[in-house]
Structures are given as structure tokens and as C-alpha cells.
Amino acid sequence: MSLDVCFYFQVHQPWRLRPYAYREVGRSHDYFDDRANAEILRRVARKCYLPMNALLEQLIARHRPHFRVSFSITATALEQMAAFAPEVLVSFRRLLATGAVELLAETSHHSLAALYSPREFAEQVRLHRAACRRWLGAPGKVFRNTELIASDAVAAQVAALGFDGLCIEGADRLFGGRRVTAPYRFAAAPALAALPRHYRLSDDIAFRFSDRRWADWPLDAERYAEWLHGEAAALPPQAGGRGFVGLFMDYETFGEHQWADTGIFDFMRALPGELLKHQACRFVTPSQAAARVPTDAATLDLPAPVSWADLERDTSAWDGNRIQQAALEAAFALEPAVRDYGVRHAADAGRVLEDWRRLLTSDHAYYMSTKHWADGDVHQYFSPFDSPYDAYINYMNVLADLAQRVGAPVASPA
């Protein structure tokens, strides 16, 4: 029996929009809230990125060569680090230099392009690779799509771009009672290994860790390592007795969502040692995990998209209501005009394309979600807007200006 444990931390920051009124359309092309973006990035850097990077570096050194982790870092986050907190990039470089850290590939702008525009999707994957190379180092051959959104169609696109593996949400409905820890490939893209997120074990850290009403609170590393060992012990002897546990979560879990005083850093400090006490468990990078999935592994069907968001684990966090759908459609509908503009106005092309891509970042649509609104859920917690409607209005105002810049027909009030 051996259990491959794969940590992957998501690092993402959107370019948040400033309040942009309709009366500014045609007058101001300055859409982003530099002050808020800088403040948030610096705060998260102080509370999470810097202390957690330092801790991981220590842990890698202490347990060398057994402790490994991986990151997926969006280009929008990398560029904000470069602009607002370059010391974070330095710290990530030190981590990468240990050789025990792998970068995942994803879209540059944390977009939903995989669902709307295969061409833009491929370009953003290329842009992300370029941004990683520029700031940190090249990502490996395992892909994670925005918010773990995956489907047969997405898997086919990812395989066509030459990747070996794809991270997905380990949603129960994909497995039909089979073990999430078993090796899988995609029926729609057999070249691609599936790396499923073990949502229960991941969310024990990401969501439940500080929840005092949780039966297992307070969680310590020893007990958590026991749980993982239990997963290893439960592996069936056939198929080589091998299993995979994907512990995928937002990096901000450490210090930002779970504050330092919850003990989250102490938990992580102790976890590798506790886990490595169990012979059956070892840490792997996503590439190592993908390489171990046999070519004749069982396959998964994903007829409809799954994601790691909300209880629904589908795309409804971004396209669940009318205004979200309208906003996404309006944004992607600008693609031909934006590209055409780029051909005609080479000097301004880069800026227009970048502005458009920043508007494709999924967070903007997330702020417009009306799901569970009354319960004051995470959508509103993360949103800089008073309501999903205000988020939509602001977004559409900006989009109206962008449309005017590139000469696209714009919904006019007249």
C-alpha cells in the first residue's frame, strides 16, 4: 500500500474594478482599482504568501527530499506581485529553487475561456506559461483550469495542448461509487491523467480547520496524518495497492482565510513530519502523480462541467443567473472586435487586449452571483460591491467603454 499525497495551492488575485459610472464611458479607459488591488495584495502577502512561503521552505529543507508541494499562480497575481510586492516573487523563486516545488499550468487571467472560446483559452495558456517563465520558472505538464472547472470538452482542449494531467474536483457524481483515490484517466481524452481533489480532506484544512462547531475541532497534524494513513490502509491490494490524495486549496487558506491565531501554521509545520512517520504515505508533485497513472486506468466521464465551487460543484457560481450569463456573453462577444482592433492599431493593441482579458477573470462574474445571497455567503464576502447587481452594473459600464474603444456595437440607452 502506498498513498501519494499531493499538495497544490492556488494563488490568484484578480484586477478588481474601480467604481466606474456610465457617465465615464468614452471618457476614461482607466478601469482598475490600483489602490485596492495593491492594498489587498500587500495584506495577503504579509499574512499569507510571505510567512507560508518561508515555512514551506523550512519544511522542504528539513524533510529533504521527501516533502514536495505544488502551486498554480495566475499571471494576474504574478503581475500584481511584481507591481505591488516584488518581495513575494523573490520568495517564490527561492521556493522553486529547492527543486521540491512544481508549478501547474493554467490560464493567464483565471478566465472561463475554456467554456467560451477555445482560441482565447489556448492563448491564455500560452500567456500563463510565458508569465511563469518570466517571473518564476516554467510550469510542468499538468494543468488546472480556473476553479477546477473541467468537462469532457475542457479535457479534450487540455489534451490537445499537450498536457499529461488535469486536476479536477473529486465530486462524488464523477465516480459512481468508485474510490476517489484510485487512478483515472478521462474517457474524452485518454492521454490525460485525472488528478482529483479529495474534497473532504482538503476542506478539513481549508474550511473546517477553525470551525469550533466541527466535531473534530481542534484538528492537529497527528490526527490528520492518521486520517491519511487510514486512506492508505483502505486501498485495495489490486492495482498495485496505490492511491492518490489531492489536497488542493487556495493558498490564502494559510493566514488569510484561517488566521495565524487558529494555529494553521503550526498545523502545517507539524504535518509533513507526522505524515512521513507513516511508511505508506509520501508526497508527490502533480507530474509525478500523473506519471504513475497507468495507461489502462479506469476512465471518468464529465458530460457536464464540474468545479470546486460551492456545494453545487458546477459552474453556477459564475453563470448561475441571468446577469452573470449576460455579462459573460457580452465580454466574450467582444473577442472578434478586440482582435480586429489589435490588427488595425498595433500601438494600442496590447493595452486593449490586456484590459479585455482582465475583464474575463472569473471573479467579476462571481461577484454577480445571487446564490445563497441572503445567507451572507462567500460570494459577498469576497465581493467589493454592495450587491451582485451593483457588480453587474459596474462591469457592464466598463464593458461599454471597452466596446466603444474597439468600435463594437454597444447597447445604447437611446
Binding site: 459610472a21 445571497w373 441572503a374 450587491s387 451593483d390 453587474y392 452594473i393
Partner: protein, 440 residues
Amino acid sequence: MSMMNDRPVRVLMLGWEYPPRFVGGLGKASQGIARGLADLGAEVSFVLPRFRGRGEETRLRVGGAREWLLEHRAAPRAAAAATPLRWLDVAARLRPYARPQAAVSPGPRAGRGTIEPGDAEALYGSDLGREVARFAERVAAMAARLRVDLVHAHDWMTFPAALAAAARLRVPLFLHVHSTEYDRSGEGADPAIAAVERMACERADHVFAVSDYTRGVLVSRYGLDPARVSVVYNAPDAAELPPPLPLGPGARQPWVVFLGRLAFQKGPDHFLRAAAGVARLHPRARFLVCGSGDMRQALQALAAELGITDRVEFRGFLAPGAVERLLARSSLLVMPSVSEPFGLVALEALRAGTPVVLSRQSGVREVIGRSLQVDFWDHARLADQILAVLRLPVLARQLVEEGREQLARLSWDESAQRVAEAYARVAGIDVAARAQGGAA
């Protein structure tokens, strides 16, 4: 259980407006509570002061008697059983607001005969203090001949009468606050009226507030113990929502509507200031100011100053039927109130399938929380919201859908249930149990 307690609970309810004679939300809200309690099995005697003037008998279809009983037609769903809601009328001269404001208008059921808008002064008399006192005297005198289990009174005009009646009858007193003097007049509150509200609320056994917003005003302005105030939200007219009327450019005019008294606390001036921002960017938008009140001339001057005279229509006071028709043709209702204890007009708009922008300084946002909201002073933001609703049909559609979803959860029966719970908790008077006892 005594003989007495085998009878349905008898409520002496005091009000100053009741459809079809009403000027604002108070009449409808009082009716909703009265009907809801009757539905639950209480016998409600609704007493209100009556102006003995021309047209009134015709309007109420009564023939000149000073005091009468009317078998009241309750909500349609309860029509099968003879409803125990009784109507008494006591002659007294009152005017409902401290200043001349909206005119009384005939309601949908008035049929023949009207009262001219604009004669509010003539209808309600002018010496408010005397009228309140006279109403109190008459109710107290009447109370001597009544047997009731409790007194429930709507808003300050009826509070002296309610105190007198409850004292004479030695029954528990429940006061229902639909608005406070501070909502009506802000810092210009009349100290005498504020004193009546404070004193009455202090003496009452329990107080109902139409929103948590109003409950907060009662606690902060009058120092009431929060435990003695419960929130009872208003509800739409009928439990059944009609199908939404179509939205979109074909079905709706680019009309943005203000509907309410033209008084400081309703924020009509904020409406005009936002309208000026919209008018510059939306050549077809029109702004309809519906209501009458003491700010009309000032508002007309403001519209001129803002350069939007040709875009603004002052429609005056609208009868309820006209309100529905107007809302059904409009693109948006804006409620920019400076202080709005509830805001029934927002529910009426959603009923008609018309989107709304709600003031953050309102009670209705507590029940229509998933909505577009604005601070009344933020004219630029309000203008942007109005433009967006006019420009983006998808937004209008979702606002209406989500608004109506929330609207469907409100009902007068539910609100009356909250009232009955308080009767039971505070005074040990169980409406539902005694309704069954009476039936047995």
C-alpha cells in the same frame, strides 16, 4: 376554561385610515393586519374617526348614521365563512398628518362619488390636538359599551384614544407603529407628537414596529426596551401574486417613477437630482413625480434649476387603480426616502412586475434584501443604477424575478400570526385556540 375564554378573542382596533379612504400605506397596512387577525379567528372591531362631510356616506355606502356596524367583506379566501370583522365608525375630526399633505382619494371600491383631491384641510380639520382629544373621548365613551380582550392601535393619532380605552376596559394595550414622528419630520419633529408616541409606547404592554429599522428608531429615540418591541412586516395586498406584466422596451415606457407624498422624508428632491444625471445620458427617459404635498412648488423650481423641466412630469396624487396602471407601464420605481419605516409602494411595484431601487434608509429592504439599494444622498450612484435598469433589460428582469420571489414569502396572514404570537406571549391571549373553542 371560563365561559369568557370559550369565545373568540375580541380586538378593539383603532386606526385613522382604512381603504377605500386612505392616503398612504397606513390604511392598507391597518387593513392587512385587521383582516389577517380576522382570518386567524379574532373578532376585530375596527374603529376610526370619521369626517362627517360631503360624499363620505356615498363613498362608504352608509346612510347618515353616526355609529353603525358593517359586516365587512374579509379577504377573498376567507369569504366562505362569515367574517367577524366589524366596522364601527365614531364621528371625530382628524387630519392624518401634522401638515397638509396628500389629499384623500377614493379607493377602487368607492364606485360612485368622489372627494376632490386638495381638500385635505377641509376633510380633516385643522386643530389637531383637539381632534385627537375628541377621538380619545369618543372611543373611551364607546368602550364603556364594549367587551373586548385587548386594544390594538395604529400610529400616534390613535394612541391617546387607545390609552383611554385600555384603561377604562382594563385590558392589555398593543400599539402598532407604522412611522414615528422622526420618520415624518426628521430633526424638525414636533415635540408634542414625539411625546405622545414616547409616553404611549412606554405605557403599552407591547409595541409592534413595521421593520427592524423602525424598531431601531423606537429604541434609540424613545429609549424603549428592545424586548418590548417586535417587528411585524407589511405584506402585499393579496396572497396571490398576479403573473408579472411584461418588461422590456416594447411593453414599457422609459419612465422612472417616484411615488409618494412630496415631503422631505420621501426624498423627492433626491429623485430629481439623480434624474438630472440620468437625463444627460438617456435622451428618452422621463421622470414621473406622483404624489402631492407641501414640496411641490419647491420641486418644480428644483427641476427648472436642474434644467430638466421638460423631462419631469408632476402627476399629482394617483388613485390606487391609476397607480397600478402607471407602474405596469413604467420601467422603474425609485424609492429614495430619507427615512422610510417600511415602504409598501415597493411591494406594489414588484407586484406589477416593475423593478425597484430601494433606499438603504428603509424598512422594506429587510424583506426585499436581494435588491438594488442606494443611500438617498448618493445621487451619482442612483443615477447610474437608473441608467443601468433602463439600458440593461436582463438586469430589470432579474430584479423583478428575485424581488417577486421574496414578495411571495410575505403575507398578511404571516404578519397577523406574528401579532397573535405577541398577544399570547405578552398577555396570554391565544387567538387560534379560542377561535376553535368558540367554534366548538
